[in-house]
Each structure stands twice: as C-alpha cells, then as structure tokens.
C-alpha cells in the first residue's frame, strides 16, 4: 500500500482552501450583475467546469497518443482517469448552464455552439467508456481507447465550427427574442478576478482528482497482480 506522497497531501489542503476562497470570491467578492442578478454567479463555475472538461479531453487524447507510441500502461491509466474526471466536469458544465439559462432566458437549454459541443463531448466520453467496457483484452482495450480518444478529440473543434456556422445562418434560441443570446455581459475588474480565480481553483481540483484517480488505478493493478500471483502459485 503506497503511502500518499507529501506533495499530494499538500495539494489536497491547498485545493480545499482555494475552493473555499473561490466560494467567497464568487458569492461575496464579485458584484451582483445588473441585468441577470445573482444567478449570473453560476457563470464562474459554469465556464470553469467547461474549460476543465475540455482540457481533460485533450489530456486523454495526448495520453492515448503517447501510449500508442511508448506502450507503457501508465499513459493509458492517465487517459482513463482524465476521461472519468472530465466527464464529471462536463456534466457540471451542462447542468450549471441549465440553471443559468432558466431564470435568464426562460429556457432550460440554449442552442449555444459551446454548450452543444460540450454536450457532444460528454456523449463522446460516455462512448469512450462503453467501448472500453466491451473489450476483454487489456492491451486491446488500451489501444482502442487511445485511438478513439484521438479521433474523437479531433472531431470536437470541427463540430464546434460547424454548429457555429450553422448558427450564424439559422440563429435559434428558443424562448428568447435575442438571436445572439450567448450570455455575454460586460465584466467589471472584480468579476474578472473572481472568474480567473475560479478557473485556477477548478484546474487545481482537476489535477488533484486526477492524481488520486491515477494512484487508485495503479493500486488496483497491484492488487490484481498479487491476486494472480497467489492463485497461480
């Protein structure tokens, strides 16, 4: 049983502290937005979560590519960990988007290109996990996961562009009279600070969770190895 490295323990505390600080920044430090009111505060978490979801996907794709080149299983473990965590953040992104949209535009969903792309990314994550689940051989599972991670990641920007192109021709926002409703508003300096701080905090939460998850995967493998050694001896 590996003891938790000191760096990780420190990271745990640091991340927790930052999160508390972020809550303060978002709910108390940042001013109340003029038009939308307090619900606008969701924005800080919404965008941060979306950002982390996208980065997590990038990590998965790159990790997969490195695995195919080096064939060291640790890269595959990293890829899976990143997908699992990214999925959660992408989900937070979607749900917070809905929470924000409802009072402001009287709709649960806006066909905003970024939101749609984020949802598609979430579905790709799920498909990735289902692909891996359906394959028995661990080497094949890792290879297929890597390939799909790369292929799917490349498709996401193209999807985003095509939806955006679609939108410029056919603006569709149900329930809102404003065809460019993408949730833009002017940010005062304090809002900007709160935003950047949330971004930083969420990024750190991602890294902490990633580290924990990779550790977990490694320990699980060790257990499996021991079990096989004991049953075959």
């Amino acid at each position: 049983m590996e003891p938790m490295p000191r760096t990780l323990k420190t990271l745990n505390w640091l991340t927790a502290a930052l999160f508390v600080a972020a809550l303060y920044m978002v709910f108390l430090y940042a001013p109340r937005e003029a038009v939308m009111g307090d619900v606008q505060r969701v924005f800080y978490f919404h965008v941060s979560a979306g950002w982390v979801g996208a980065v997590a996907f990038l990590v998965t794709a790159i990790s997969g590519a490195v695995f195919l080149a080096r064939r060291n299983p640790k890269w595959d473990r990293l890829a899976v960990a990143s997908v699992e965590i990214g999925m959660v953040f992408a989900f937070i992104n979607i749900v917070s988007g809905a929470i924000w949209a409802r009072p402001v535009w009287n709709t649960w969903w806006t066909w905003d290109p970024r939101l749609v792309t984020a949802t598609i990314m979430e579905l790709i994550y799920l498909a990735y996990l289902m692909l891996r689940q359906g394959i028995e051989d661990p080497d094949r599972r890792a290879r297929f996961g890597s390939v799909y991670g790369i292929v799917a990641f490349i498709s996401v920007p193209i999807t985003f562009l095509s939806i955006r192109f679609f939108r410029t021709i056919h603006p569709v926002v149900i329930g809102s009279g404003d065809p460019t409703a993408e949730g833009t508003f002017d940010m005062t300096p304090r809002m900007l600070q709160a935003f950047l701080f949330s971004l930083l905090t969420f990024s750190l939460i991602y890294m902490t969770l990633l580290w924990h998850r990779v550790r977990l995967a490694r320990m699980t493998e060790h257990v499996e190895e021991r079990r096989m050694q004991l049953t075959s001896a």
Partner: protein, 232 residues
C-alpha cells in the same frame, strides 16, 4: 530458417511464454505439442507476424520480426484452425482473392494447380459455405501454398476433422512438406505429431521442455515423456 531466442509474451500481466528458445533448420518438419493454454497458438501467431513478442528475438529466413514483418509474410503460408475463407465465395474465387493479395503471377494457373494439389478441383465452383470441415481445411492449405511459401505454419489443423478427412490431410501435409518446405505444426495429438514430423517439441511452462527427433525415442515412450515433462 526459424530462430527464436528468449521469447517472452505477456498478455496484460499474465506471462504465457517465458523466455522460450526454439530453432528450426531449413526443410525440417517440427511438431509442437503441449497442454491447453501452454502457448502453442501464441508462439505460432508470433511466428506468423500476427502478434508481437513482448521480449526476445525472433528471426525467419534471417529477417527479424516484427521489424521486417512485411518481407517475412511473403514467404509464409499459415493454416489456422479457422479456415480463413469466405463462405459466400466459391473455392476458386477464394483462391483468386488471396492470389491477388499476394501478387501471385500466372494467377489462374496457380489457382487451378493448388486446387488440384488439395484434391478440390471438382468442387472449384462450389460455395465454401457448402464445404465440410475437412474440405475447408484442405482449401485452406491450398490458400496457404498458393504463393509458394518457404515456411508453413499450421495451428492444430486436424481439429474437428473426422478420421477419414484427417488421413487425407496427413497425406497432403506429407506431400507439401516433401517439397522441401520448412513446416511447424502445433498439435494436440502426440502420436500423429510423431508420425508426421521429423522432430517433436514439447511446450510446457512457457518454454520448450523437451525435444525429440524421429527415431531417438520409441513411439510408445512418448506419452510417458510428455507426462513427465508437463506434469500431467
């Protein structure tokens, strides 16, 4: 012709071959026997360039695997226990397809000759779907010799054959091997392996546990040797 040194193959964390040494001189017919799960199929797949070694060195006709797999495939003929044939095509069409893949020249002549060799010319226009297992195995051999390979690899070719078909297969194997080819055949059947091959190697515990040349040992003593080596 075939040189294998310290071959290691692991699936995930499970080691199947553990530093296996194996060598086949040109023109020899070697049978590899061993218990289920010993790694016979794995060894054959690695020799056939269908799987990669985890560690160790594998050479066929002086070419290294997996690095020079492309050149090696040209001189290999592989018969698996799956026939590798398309049921919806006729015997002829199947051979023509593989002939094209292997860029065999004078294709039609070669196809008809291969059919003749394996005794399936009368059925050349029949769909492979209608063939018995024995006929499919014979056609599979025809497929494997189409491009005149120097090395033949056979993975338990007698599986699922009735005694009559098995005898026909033996005759065919004798003929094919007699043309100077190097043959490696894995098998479950110790007696059959001993009668067909120049040499019988026993794969157990992830390595070659024993090797017996024809004539070295009395055929009746083989099962005892096998049992002692595999711990059966």
């Amino acid at each position: 012709m075939i040189e294998v040194r310290k071959l290691v193959k692991t699936f995930g964390r499970k080691p199947v071959l553990r530093g296996l040494d194996f060598s086949v001189p040109e023109g020899e017919f070697v049978a590899v026997v061993g218990p289920n799960g010993a790694g016979k199929t794995t060894l054959l797949r690695i020799l056939a360039s269908l799987a990669r070694p985890t560690l160790g060195e594998v050479r066929l006709a002086g070419r290294r695997l997996p690095a020079e797999a492309g050149a090696v495939r040209r001189i290999l003929g592989v018969v698996s226990h799956q026939p590798l044939l398309y049921g919806d095509l006729t015997a002829e069409e199947n051979l023509r397809f593989y002939g094209r893949l292997y860029a065999v020249s004078e294709l039609e002549a070669r196809v008809q000759q291969a059919l003749e060799t394996v005794g399936l010319r009368p059925h050349r226009r029949d769909l492979v779907r209608t063939f018995s297992r024995g006929m499919q195995q014979r056609l599979s051999i025809g497929r494997a010799i189409l491009h005149e390979p120097l090395v033949m690899l056979l993975d338990e070719p007698h599986t699922g054959l009735d005694p009559e078909a098995a005898v026909m297969l033996d005759r065919l194997l004798g003929q094919v091997a007699g043309e100077g080819r190097t043959v490696v055949m894995t098998s479950h059947d110790l007696q059959r392996a001993a009668s067909l091959a120049n040499r019988v190697d026993v794969l157990a515990g992830g390595v070659m546990a024993a090797s017996v040349r024809k004539g070295e040992l009395d055929p009746e003593e083989l099962p005892a040797l096998y049992r002692s080596v595999t711990g059966a």
